[in-house]
């Protein structure tokens, strides 16, 4: 089975724990061990420090490296701080960047249409998927609001963990543009239940490397009580399809 990881962070980050992988070589070693063919990657500096510079560092770190699919971190274009939407799309096309990650809580901005309407319209028009971790949203209601404000944008929400189902299931029901990153979706029988109620198409394999466990993430899929077809969709099929639909 092929795995393509939808969430990997490259680059030196601020806080590391003992034995945690840090370098690209260490991350690749883990990917090899866990048979992860490729990974969508953003840069730590783009998250923790300078978004623009971090996006450029990503290009340098992944130059000529087909194991990583480039992902840029985006900010609103307010006060001229970040690229305009037009500049972003151009830059993405020129640099083979096929997805966007956002950190609205960490980076401090609104997700509402008055703030991000134009940006999200562009994401929808160009079928660019937008990735976030669950803790970047204020609440499940904020998640629902975002999904319904931008129904034509595919959102991949990761790091959901195991206590949120009652909040998330109604949202999954109402919002077909909501996809869950499976990395630490460790609900007992969770992957199977998701497949039963919403279909394997709604799950995207991810690890959260280097701070998340790749071994745990692949095991979650490999050992899930679902069909091989469903595993294949989750492990790589859904993400590959989504990324192949991007029009830049």
């Amino acid at each position: 089975m092929r795995f393509i990881d939808a969430r990997c962070q490259l680059g030196r980050r601020c806080v590391i724990r003992e034995n945690e992988p840090v370098t690209k070589a260490e991350i690749l070693e883990l990917m090899d061990r866990c048979r992860i063919e490729r990974a969508v990657a953003y840069h730590a500096i783009a998250k923790e420090g300078d978004v623009k510079a971090g996006n450029m560092e990503l290009l340098k770190d992944t130059e000529g490296d087909s194991r990583f699919l480039r992902q840029w971190v985006a900010l609103p274009h307010t006060f001229g701080e970040f690229m305009s939407v037009e500049e972003l799309l151009k830059g993405m096309k020129e640099n083979s960047v096929s997805s966007i990650r956002m950190f609205p809580k960490t980076h401090g901005y609104s997700l509402k249409p008055y703030a991000l309407g134009k940006f999200m319209d562009a994401m929808a028009e160009h079928k660019i998927p937008v990735f976030m971790t669950y803790n970047e949203l204020a609440s499940e209601d904020a998640l629902y609001a975002m999904l319904t404000d931008y129904p034509k944008v595919n959102f991949i929400i990761s790091d959901v963990s195991y206590r949120e189902e009652r909040k998330l299931f109604p949202i999954l029901e109402h919002c077909p543009n909501f996809h869950i990153g499976t990395g630490n979706y460790v609900v007992h029988g969770g992957v199977k239940t998701m497949c039963e109620y919403f279909g394997a198409e709604r799950m995207i394999f991810d690890t959260g490397l280097p701070t998340g466990s790749a071994a745990a993430a692949v095991s979650l899929i490999c050992f899930a009580e679902i069909s091989e077809e469903e595993k294949t969709l989750i492990a790589s099929g859904n993400l590959e399809r989504m990324l192949s639909e991007v029009e830049l």
Binding site: L75, T78, F79, G80, E81, Y109, S110, A115, L116
Partner: protein, 247 residues
């Protein structure tokens, strides 16, 4: 250059740092030192405790001080806790009050129209600018309040330096939002603001006594903007807003 302070506070605080100039004559002394000709002032009792009594206290405190003009704190008139629109208009007109200050979080009421329609309707009709500290309606709430009441001019004070990513989209979407400059200190903050939004949306204020008047005037005086922009910020914009009030 002369300054008009769009917002300062009078009255005895519950707690304060050593040396903080809270007494009225101390505030007047700093204003004089900082070339601040006049100020809109509200009272701490109105802001922190008893709104109507505090507003009355304010009038007594500044009765013989022409440099200080009253700013009243306001609440929705639920349970007749505050004046209804007609009575408020009469009282403001009688007492020379031309601005209001709200504090929905501190006063524990909603800022949405179901709660504040009457008060904001009055402010819109009479062109009364409404002030609040950014913390009273931060982030998306800032947009909501500006959007819910598009005919009210809002001035946010006590902004600090970390709000631009929230503020920018609201400024784009809502032409009725003004920024008090008191502690608006992002690096090159006023220059950047004037570049993207224009000086006529900036209103000089000090946030005295918790804020520094010397810092606030320096921020404008040393800003890398034109003299015309500085004059607008220092006094021009607030004078225009006050001149539009129709009670």
């Amino acid at each position: 250059m002369r300054f008009f302070d769009a917002s300062c506070r009078l009255g005895r605080p519950a707690a304060f740092g050593e040396g903080m100039p809270w007494q009225t004559d101390e505030i007047l002394e700093i204003m004089a030192r900082c070339h601040i000709d006049g100020a809109l002032a509200y009272h701490i009792v109105a802001r922190e405790g008893e709104t109507q009594d505090g507003n009355e206290l304010l009038l007594r405190e500044i009765a013989q001080i022409p440099q200080l003009q009253p700013q009243w704190c306001a609440l929705p008139a639920t349970y007749d806790e505050f004046l209804h629109a007609d009575a408020l208009r009469d009282a403001m007109k009688e007492n020379g009050v031309r601005t209001l200050r709200i504090a929905p979080k501190s006063f524990a009421h909603s800022a949405r129209p179901y709660a504040m329609k009457e008060l904001m309707g009055f402010a819109a009709e009479c062109r009364v600018p409404v002030f609040f500290d950014y913390g009273e309606a931060p982030c998306d709430e800032l947009y909501e309040i500006c959007h819910d009441y598009p005919d009210v001019s809002f001035v946010i004070t006590n902004t600090a330096y970390a709000l631009n990513r929230w503020l920018g989209p609201v400024l784009d979407a809502c032409g009725n939002l003004y920024l008090g400059t008191g502690n608006y200190v992002p690096h090159r903050g006023l220059e950047t603001f004037c570049k993207y939004y224009a000086a006529d949306r900036l209103v000089f204020n000090t946030n005295l006594p918790t804020g520094s008047a010397t810092a606030a005037v320096s921020l404008v005086c040393f800003a890398d903007i034109s003299k015309e922009e500085k004059e607008l910020i220092a006094h021009g914009n607030i004078e225009r807003l006050l001149g539009e009030v129709r009670l």
